[in-house]
Subunit: 344 residues, 2 copies
DNA sequence: CTGTTAGCGCGTTCAG
DNA sequence: CTGAACGCGCTAACAG
């Protein structure tokens, strides 16, 4: 039930420093010094000013401050990740890294549309953000925003194609290594690899890491890497094929948690016990997927929050003048659950 | 591999209107008029100015404009929804409603912490946002930010406890109604209801709607509403109980997609065919959950994007002075898939 | 048609 | 210790 009141309850516009000064009976300059803790203000005067400011709920106008300082204390987060799987942890990591409340973040969703991205870019530059973080929808290298921007840019998750830019990405190769090492450590020897879209660099990198670790352990891959899509349906279908072609498989390395969920379903349907007969691993450690699985899913966590914090750190450095460039890969970690180690 | 360059490649600070004016050989005032398409500027002059602006990539300083206009063209989105299940669609809806690029959005994550929320609130007010949208982590009424803020506030998803505030929430009662009506329309008569945490108003509202619709159809509920948690594990456990206690059940109404996923798992384990013997429905229409299910899950879509658009609209109205208040409920819709209607 | 002047809210000189 | 004056980048009102 919605009701409309009389036109505009004449909202009390935000008080200015002048209002504070008038109320305290001093000049704006004195009020400014008093509130900012500068020296050369009589304690009594300062107290009067502070009280006046509190009484009228004075909040300094950051815009006016910014126009003076040349720094706005804002950054733009330009994302193409519709679901927020990467953007939100990165946002949180960035908030933390900046020190709560110090820096405010403009979040813009470009929806993988270059036009919309340019549009948002203009708006952000017009608002004089101190820097930009660009988040991709996948780990494939993306076009650079350009070299002649007035503010530093850090690319997160998806690196820039231009190596002179600064990028921070998860270490997908090592993710593959860690996964295989864990499976080998639990005694698995016949490891099949079910992956997602072959065109994704994440798929390629994880496969590379897995192959390297297999070789290092003196093992052969069990059949080819089975590429498909990042879906449960593909996980189910591929698992059927693996079981048909190589019934002695003892581990399924699935390149995403969703694929792994599908694999678990098929194994269950066919009466294969997890993890006793076949171990299953996923990637991403998406709790929604891993926690509800039976058994719960061991997965490689891509550490998105740490990624976000690091991106924010590098942005702060760049804003401070420490120009760095190149692609930095962030470590990943394994989260062990019941799908590879029997629950006790 | 990261490399550090010489200190601060002396980033070219953003050009100002003065630079444009100087380059075009006119005064700043004329340059301003020319770029803003005001009358009383000679076409040739205008062209010279525009060209100069483009040459040096001039972007007007929104801060300076804002300080004049008293409007910043920014809004704050204060969220407590860590995963972004609600915040991000709402963000996108808001972006659309504001008209792309017109309004930029500060996204702050308060993480259900009142202190942090106050902190962000100060920062946002300091940045002179034109308005605020507050997104809750669930549909339970939340404390108001207060009545004496200098900008209008719209509460989305979780309404404010103060009825004088303006809130926009999904219609959970009608969600329950729609769900039961669909099940009844497909010939179901013995409908059990598995819900989540009993303390959530979303659970209560959906149950209320379901009960109302059942009564309207002249049906009795099949056993009590089974409250538990919003998890797959609870969905599995509760389904076992329903099957044990009322084997003639022909539909399971599950209060979230996750619960429904659990229900599907248990039905499959026990050899019950879906949808032929038992139909299953979820709520939220979370594609990650519904698309991978076997069969794919019919679900009630809470229309988060529409909710966001509406919240943004109401905020724009309030900014424009049309003070409205009260709780507005937004319609929901059903997405029919194979778990209630056999795939053809 | 164009340039000059004033002022938005604030911080920072510099006199008093 | 305090206040007046200046400037940040921009637009509106006026003067030329």
């Amino acid at each position: 039930m919605t009701t409309t009141e009389e036109p505009a309850a004449s909202r009390p516009k935000a008080p200015t420093l002048r209002d504070v000064a008038r109320l305290a009976g001093v000049s704006v300059a004195t009020a400014s010094k008093a509130l900012n803790g500068r020296a050369n203000v009589h304690p009594d005067t300062r107290r009067r000013v502070v009280e006046a400011a509190e009484r009228i709920q004075f909040t300094p106008n950051s815009l006016a401050q910014a126009i003076l300082a040349g720094q706005t204390g804002t950054v733009g987060l330009l994302t193409n990740d519709l679901e927020g799987r990467f953007s939100l942890p990165i946002l949180m990591g960035a908030e933390d890294a900046f020190g709560a409340g110090q820096m405010s973040i403009f979040l813009c969703d470009a929806r993988d549309d270059a036009i919309r991205e340019q549009y948002h870019l203009r708006a952000l530059l017009g608002r004089r953000v101190d820097g930009l973080i660009v988040v991709g929808s996948n780990t494939d290298p993306r076009p650079s925003l350009g070299r002649d921007l007035p503010v530093p840019v850090v690319y997160a998750y998806a690196p820039s194609q231009d190596e002179r830019d600064c990028s921070v990405i998860p270490d997908n190769v090592n993710a593959g290594v860690l996964a295989v090492e864990h499976l080998v450590a639990t005694g698995r020897r016949r490891i099949a690899h079910i992956s997602g879209d072959v065109h994704y660099s994440a798929a390629q990198d994880r496969a590379l890491g897995a192959a390297t670790a297999l070789a290092a352990a003196g093992l052969e891959p069990l059949g080819p890497v089975r590429y498909g899509s990042w879906t449960e349906a593909w996980g189910r279908a591929a698992t059927h094929r693996v079981l048909d072609e190589t019934p002695d498989v003892d581990a399924l390395l699935c390149a995403s948690d969703q694929i792994a969920r599908g694999a678990l379903d098929t194994l269950r349907d066919r009466g294969v016990h997890v993890p006793e007969q076949v171990a299953v691993m996923g990637f991403d450690n998406w709790e929604t997927m891993t926690a509800g699985a039976r058994p719960q899913l061991t997965s490689i966590d891509m550490n998105f929050e740490m990624l976000g914090r690091r991106a924010a750190q590098r942005l702060v450095e760049a804003i401070g003048g420490e120009a760095a460039h190149g692609v930095e890969t962030m470590p990943v970690r394994i989260q062990v659950r019941g799908s590879t180690i029997p629950d006790t």
